[in-house]
Amino acid sequence: MTECEKGEIITVLSVKAGIKAKKRLANLGIVPGVKILKKKSAPLKGPLEIIVKGSSLVIGRGLSAKIMVRCQGQCNL
């Protein structure tokens, strides 16, 4: 997810993280198939702010990189 453009609506494909992180994200609505909007990323390669299920979530950069998404029809890794 770190490689997508700001302001794009992207679809989550999978979350390649540990079980706990996955579950926490799932509780907040980040599951395969859900559409999220990447709002901005923090300076200094910091966390990402995304909009999911209508509200703003901040996710650390390391974890964001593990969220696999599809932007505009391209697959990202």
Binding site: S14, V15, I19, K20, A21, K22, K23, R24, L25, A26, N27, L28, G29, V31, P32, G33, V34, K40, A42, P43, L44, K45, G46, P47, E49, K53, G54, S55, S56, L57, V58, I59, G60, R61, G62, L63
Partner: protein, 688 residues
């Protein structure tokens, strides 16, 4: 799927030790963080609130009472959480409490502007089979966006009362209580009137393949349950949690031989389901829940105007500014300075008034009884003096401090700070949220270390506490500014800060490498900026101050009296002699100073206060008493060594005494080592 019926014999009258009142109702407020639960709680319970701890845990318990329409309500404000799994103590504590005998009714506070995510938690609560009311809060904001909710439909779908609320204006809050009375004490017309928990399988069901497994697990549980499993949780909840491999639930079944095979059963079911879906079980379940929620939300949201107004609001502009690559950090520094200035200006002013008053009274007392009478010394100087010192020297700073922190918290600024600082915090092994207690640490370490409870794991909490206690609090700053700042200039103050922060960085990195476990990633909800609600802020400030007064102040006063007594009997002289190898030779300070550093354990600014008094007694000014090197060393040691006693106690409460003592020992060592190095470094440098 038959839900367990709750008969009226299970309702209020359960013989709680606290309330033998027949007409008492016990309510739990549950919901996501930042939905307005506290606002509602404040409205209902006002000044009767108490903050305690859940027994045996380091989680805060907020309780309050209310008498309304002839009924006595006991209300517990549960921590804001997103689910009922076992990530955090808050979740465990909440779910255990809800199914315990002590809760008659849950009021699920939902942020109507954030329906989907909030309903996820609602679904979790529904599985606990406890009577519930849904309170849709922030309806005013929803209406501003030209959206409305179909309450009739919501009630039809959930088969539970759904009420609109605008908590900040107090609207709809009493209706919640009226509804609670209706549910818990139904009209006596009906002989066997009971609150029947509705059959919600229509919305709560998962896909067929999952439901089959759940049914099988329920069968196994129900068979063995009565004899062995002593749990308040409904069978379906247990089944789902077993499938999800929930630690705490597993423990219930692991303990007995006859039930441990249920765990194996759950394991095999889980593997099957994960193969079918190609995803881990939590993702499967969460996806299904969100699917169900989606269908509901489509039916109940009423969008009233076709126009999608894409106005950029003030909140948006502020958000952009405070997270900007440059301005964001500038603002952060300004905010921290602002906290200092606000706290100090009010504190100094009020503290001065107290000092004057005390001075005048002291003169009166001395002229009546004489200064040297033992009783006068212990009771007046020690006792009342300690009290005035605690109020005029500490409380007048702490209260404005709490006030401005509450404003920052309520307006929504603090997550932005975490957003900006996450990257930096990672270098010391914790994530961005830890900046929040550290910001607090600039004012006072006591609430700052208490604030470390927002960290999700023990590891991070512990690292956070150490680093937070190393932040120079306002008291330490008084010493630095009053000594180095005043006589040596601001550049030396900067020098001290650089050393202090380097220490924090280095300690953080070492802890990060040596403490087991890895750094958790930041996952945080960031809500829109909003105008702080002055009711909430005042009440929270009052509560926090009350907590401080009852917990920290007595310690300060008692220690003050003790030290005064020791001073009277000259018990402290020998201490000076014992300390002199360290204080005089290593640190290069005058002999008498050793004692002042010990007083500093009580309150850090005392080191300077006593130093000044000492100088006055000798007829010297501070400049004459201490050389510049000594001033620097003295200030540095004050900044770094042991956290003040009140802080130590808070740390012990948050973790345990062993850790608190370890931290104290660590910081004393650090202060002494670095102080000595600085001292000798300068001496060598001067002699080159």
């Amino acid at each position: 799927m038959k839900y367990q019926r709750r008969t009226s014999s299970h309702l209020p009258n359960k013989g709680k030790e606290k309330d033998k009142h027949k007409d008492s109702i016990n309510i739990a407020l549950a919901g996501n963080p930042n939905v307005g639960k506290s606002v509602i709680f404040n409205q209902l319970t006002g000044l009767s609130q108490t903050i305690g701890n859940w027994p045996g845990k380091t989680v805060e318990k907020m309780e309050g009472k209310l008498d309304f329409l002839g009924y006595h309500f006991n209300i517990v404000d549960l921590p804001g959480i997103y689910s009922l799994s076992t990530f955090t103590l808050e979740e465990i504590v909440s779910r255990e409490f809800i199914v315990s005998e002590e809760v008659d009714l849950i009021i699920n506070v939902i942020d109507a502007t954030n329906l989907e995510r909030n309903l996820f938690f609602t679904f979790q609560l529904l599985e606990l089979n406890v009577p519930m009311i849904l309170a849709m809060n922030q309806m005013d904001i929803l209406h501003k966006r030209n959206i409305d909710l179909d309450f009739k439909k919501l009630e039809k779908i959930f088969k539970l009362p759904v009420l609109p609320v605008v908590a900040v204006h107090g609207l709809g809050v009493h209706q919640l209580l009226e509804k609670a009375i209706e549910i818990c004490h139904p009209h006596l017309n009906y002989e066997n009137s009971e609150f029947e928990i509705p059959d919600l399988s229509a919305i709560l069901s998962f896909g067929k393949e999952v439901e089959i497994k759940i049914k099988d697990l329920i069968k196994s549980i129900s068979v063995d349950r009565k004899s062995v499993v002593n749990s308040h949780y409904p069978p379906r909840f247990l089944a789902i949690k077993l499938l999800e491999d929930d630690e705490e639930i597993n423990k219930i079944f692991e303990n007995h031989e006859s039930t441990s095979d249920i765990i194996q059963l759950a394991d095999s079911f889980r593997k099957e389901l994960e193969e079918i879906h190609g995803e881990d079980i939590s993702t499967v379940i969460s996806s299904e829940i969100y699917n169900n929620i989606n269908k509901i939300v489509e039916q109940v949201l009423i969008i009233q105007s076709e126009k999608q107004t894409k106005k950029i609001t003030l909140a948006d502009k502020l958000d952009h500014l405070t997270t900007h690559s440059i301005w964001g950090y500038v603002i952060l520094i300004l905010v921290i300075l602002g906290i200092y200035i606000f706290t100090f200006s009010i504190g100094d002013f009020l503290g001065g008034l107290f000092d004057e008053g005390y001075g005048i009274w002291s003169e009166n007392i001395y002229s009546l009884y004489g200064e040297n009478l033992l009783g006068v010394k212990i009771l007046w100087d020690g006792g009342v003096g300690g009290l005035i010192g605690a109020v005029g020297g500490v409380l007048v700073y702490v209260i404005p401090f709490f006030l401005i922190i509450e404003i920052l918290q309520d307006s929504g600024y603090l997550p932005r700070a975490a957003f900006l600082m996450d990257r930096v915090m990672h270098t010391v092994g914790i994530h961005g949220k830890s900046i929040i207690p550290m910001i607090l640490g600039f004012g006072c370490n006591v609430p700052a270390c208490a604030g470390c409870r927002i960290m999700e794991t023990e590891r991070e909490k512990k690292i956070s506490i150490v680093l937070t206690s190393l932040i120079p609090c306002a008291a330490a700053m008084t010493v630095v500014m009053g000594l180095v700042g005043r006589y040596l200039g601001l550049s030396w103050v900067l020098f001290l800060f650089i050393i202090n922060f380097s220490v924090i960085l280095i300690v953080g990195r070492i802890l990060n490498k040596t403490m087991p476990g890895t750094c958790t990633e930041l996952i945080m909800e960031m809500h829109e900026y909003r105008m702080p609600n002055y009711n909430v802020i005042l009440k929270q400030t009052w509560l926090r101050s009350k907590e401080f007064v009852f917990k920290a102040l007595p310690i300060i006063i008692i220690l003050g009296i003790t030290l005064e007594i020791l001073l009277i009997f000259n018990a402290l002289e020998p201490v000076n002699l014992i300390l002199s190898p360290i204080s005089v030779i290593w640190l290069g300070l005058p002999t008498a100073v050793g004692i002042f550093l010990i007083y500093g354990i009580l309150r850090k600014e005392l080191t300077l206060v006593l130093l000044a008094l000492f100088a006055e007694n000798m007829g010297l000014t501070l400049v004459e008493l201490l050389t510049p090197i000594q001033m620097i060393t003295f200030s540095l040691v004050t900044m770094l060594y042991i956290p003040c006693f009140a802080t130590i106690i808070i740390i012990a409460k948050q973790t345990n005494w062993k850790y608190a003592l370890q931290i104290s020992f660590l910081e004393i060592s650090l202060a002494l080592i670095i102080g000595g190095i600085v001292n000798w470094g300068f001496i060598l440098f001067m002699n080159l």
